[in-house]
Amino acid sequence: MMDTLILSRIQFAANISFHILFPTITIALGWFLLFFKLRFQWTGDLKWMEAYRFWVKVFALSFAMGVVSGITMSFQFGTNWPGFMETVGNIAGPLLAYEVMTAFFLEAVFIGIMLFGFSRVPSWLHTLATFLVAFGTTMSTFWIIVLNSWMHTPQGFEMIDGVAHATSWWEIVFNPSMPYRLVHMLLASGLTVAFLIAGIAAFRYILGDRKETVRSQIRVGLTFAALLIPVQIFAGDMHGLNTLEHQPAKVAAMEGNWETRSNVPLVLFGMPNEETRTNDYAIEVPNMASIILKHSPDGVVPGLNDFVAEDGTIEHPPVAKVFWSFRVMVATGMAMLLLSWGSLVFLWRRADDGRRFAIRRLPKPLLWALVPMALSGWVATLAGWYTTEIGRQPWLVQGVMTTEMAVADVPAPMVLSTLLGYLAIYAALLLAYCGVIVYLAVKARHDDALESLTPASGEAVVDVIAREDRGGAVPAE
């Protein structure tokens, strides 16, 4: 029988993993929607309006999923981790409160105007609402990442009678890992959405939907992906160096490095074995880990054996989980790099009519590969978070409190029953969510292209859309 601690951890991990899937999409998709809307206003080209109208549906759906799973999150602290707030509540509390006050209300109120206000408010107000929603999701990210980063690299506080008290809010907010984590997360969201847009558009294209908007969406997705991924790899590298400074045990687990030494190889593949404290079946690149982490072949890199107490107690995180999550993330990042730049090379070549960026120049296999890559952002993001969070164990707040100290004294069977309940509902909702997105993509093919109806002025567009959408909230069929 599993105990309350492990069950609560699994439940927390399930809830946060489910939650993060949707913010990852909404954070950047909000900005993409603003991009589509502004492109439409500037060029008057209806393909941008079509792109807006397709993706705003995905946004609305993802946002609702994000909100309801987020509400679950905010109850988790009290139901399962009361020790967390009792110990560090003086720090975590204000950060969460600021998130609610500056971000949640902003997005929750303006999303109403953004989704349903198009023909009720002046165009500038609608654009402003779109901007405020995107801004709100970004603010959410800022505050929650501040809190999460503080849990990894806490500072600006003192402990009085076992309770943390803030001494400097500046130091708390701008804790050492915050900028790296924030940038990395925002880029992750951008990449997730870039590949989602390209992937879904490629899917529509393969199904025979060759509208101009579909081709433009593939281009937009691929271009943003190609721009962001090198930055992300660089940011990830910087993030790793920062972690090396503050949480060396985590980096040692990521690298699968057991002994502190110089000339550490990069383990491409291997099976970390905590019994023998070596890697089985390792395939290594000599000196590479030292070069990456210390920028010199004979740089000394800390190893896991440094984090074993005299009495044999393990004080480093579970190695294999961290090691593998990290590899999944990096591999996905590399796949993103290859695919986006590979596609751009083909697109750059001129088509018969002398134009560049003709989607039909894209080889079939690449086009097909884009479809599963629609989910690549999710994979990399989850893997990245698993690296970060499991890598912090056994600490909940690094050096301040362990996960074990925070757990509620709720009977294990009760946690098990709620855990199973959440899992069942998450599985069903995930299926429904993906199903609906595929359905929207398939259905979009039968929507008349707005451009074929073409009146150019903004007001006429509203007219056309209204005609097409008669029946309102009820879908066409």
Partner: protein, 337 residues
């Protein structure tokens, strides 16, 4: 830091208890009307369902955010109470969350999924609204009973669950009277008339039970001269009921003149009931166990939130008002354009 001669360990917890009370009250009336609309959907035709959902579509998310704020304030200002209350109410909280999840996602799925699934999502919408409401009522009941689990408190909590469901359906119906026209409005008037009794019974039961459970609360209400100061609460409530009853007789009025009366009066009734409860339990945050002063976090942390709240909360109220203004008048079908 002192305020009017009170130390910050005294006035800060009080201010935060008040803030939390306000956000709970706002949550109850605001999400109350949209959960109520959800509870009423099975009694409406398909076309009416669309209108009902459309009437709350632009608002529900912001309404629910008051719950996040209330829980956030509890967690932030009274961390010890937060853990105690929520881990005691572990299962009801779980059902509340499942209800809110089902309800929230159904808004989207019912119009985006294949048409053949629409009926299914309509049911989920109803089921989620109902489950969330029942759990809230149940939690309220247990809280009033001092968070003790016995057969008696359980029964009382179950009664509260039913009463709150009827109460939310009532305020939902009054919202629909305000936002709809024609047949749907007539129907909403009928729903409101039918539900008002549930509300009366619910408020009555809680008002009777609270003083009986706790001698402390009994003394707070039934001693001289506090009885005198408190008499406006019941008197105003009766007045509200009378006003409601009259307005139903005149509805639907010429040019929709009275349509706002039931909703506004319902808000008033909920507020009065809430004030009564708040008076009974003050200064306890966990009934008879933990006062707000014992449970409060460090003053410096509360202070930094308060500064923010002074600037942000008026802004929030401002743009919330903007949203209600944009979507004023009778509901039209919701469209993304």
């Amino acid at each position: 830091m002192e305020l009017f001669g009170y130390a910050d360990t005294i006035w800060l917890p009080f201010v935060f208890a008040a803030l939390m009370g306000v956000s709970i009250l706002l949550y109850v009336v605001l999400d109350g009307y949209d959960l109520g609309v959800g509870i009423l959907t099975p009694f409406a035709s398909d076309a009416e369902k669309d209108m009902m959902v459309a009437s709350i579509g632009p608002f529900w998310d912001a309404n629910e955010t008051w719950l996040v704020l209330a829980i956030g304030l509890l967690l932030v200002a009274f961390p010890a109470a937060h853990g105690l209350i929520l881990s005691t109410l572990y299962l009801p909280v779980f059902f509340l969350l499942i209800g809110l999840i089902l309800r929230g996602v159904s808004f989207e799925f019912r119009v985006k999924a294949r048409a053949k699934y629409k009926e299914f999502w309509n049911w989920m919408f109803f089921a989620g609204s109902l489950l969330a409401t029942l759990s809230q009522g149940f939690m309220l009941g247990l809280y009033v009973m001092g968070l003790q689990f016995t057969a008696g408190t359980f029964l009382f909590a179950a009664l509260c669950a039913l009463a709150l469901t009827v109460g939310y359906a009532f305020i939902g119906a009054t919202w629909l009277i305000l936002k709809s026209e024609g047949d749907l409005q007539l129907r909403a008037i009928r729903w409101a008339k039918e539900c008002i009794w549930g509300l009366v019974i619910g408020i009555g039961a809680i008002s009777l039970a609270t003083p009986l459970v706790s001698p402390r609360i009994w003394d707070k209400w039934f001693s001289f001269p506090s009885m005198l100061y408190l008499s406006p609460l019941p008197i105003l409530s009766l007045l509200g009921l009378w006003l409601l009853w009259r307005s139903f007789r005149h509805l639907p009025g010429d040019g929709d003149r009275w349509a706002w009366v039931p909703f506004v009066t319902a808000l008033g009734l909920f507020t009065l009931a809430f004030l009564g409860l708040a008076y009974s339990f003050y200064p306890f945050v966990v009934p008879e166990q933990l006062t707000i002063y014992e449970a409060a976090s460090a003053p410096e942390s509360l202070f930094i939130i308060l500064i923010g709240a002074c600037f942000v909360v008026p802004t929030i109220l401002g743009y919330t008002a903007l949203a209600y203004w944009v979507f004023r008048g009778k509901t039209k079908a919701l469209r993304y354009d």
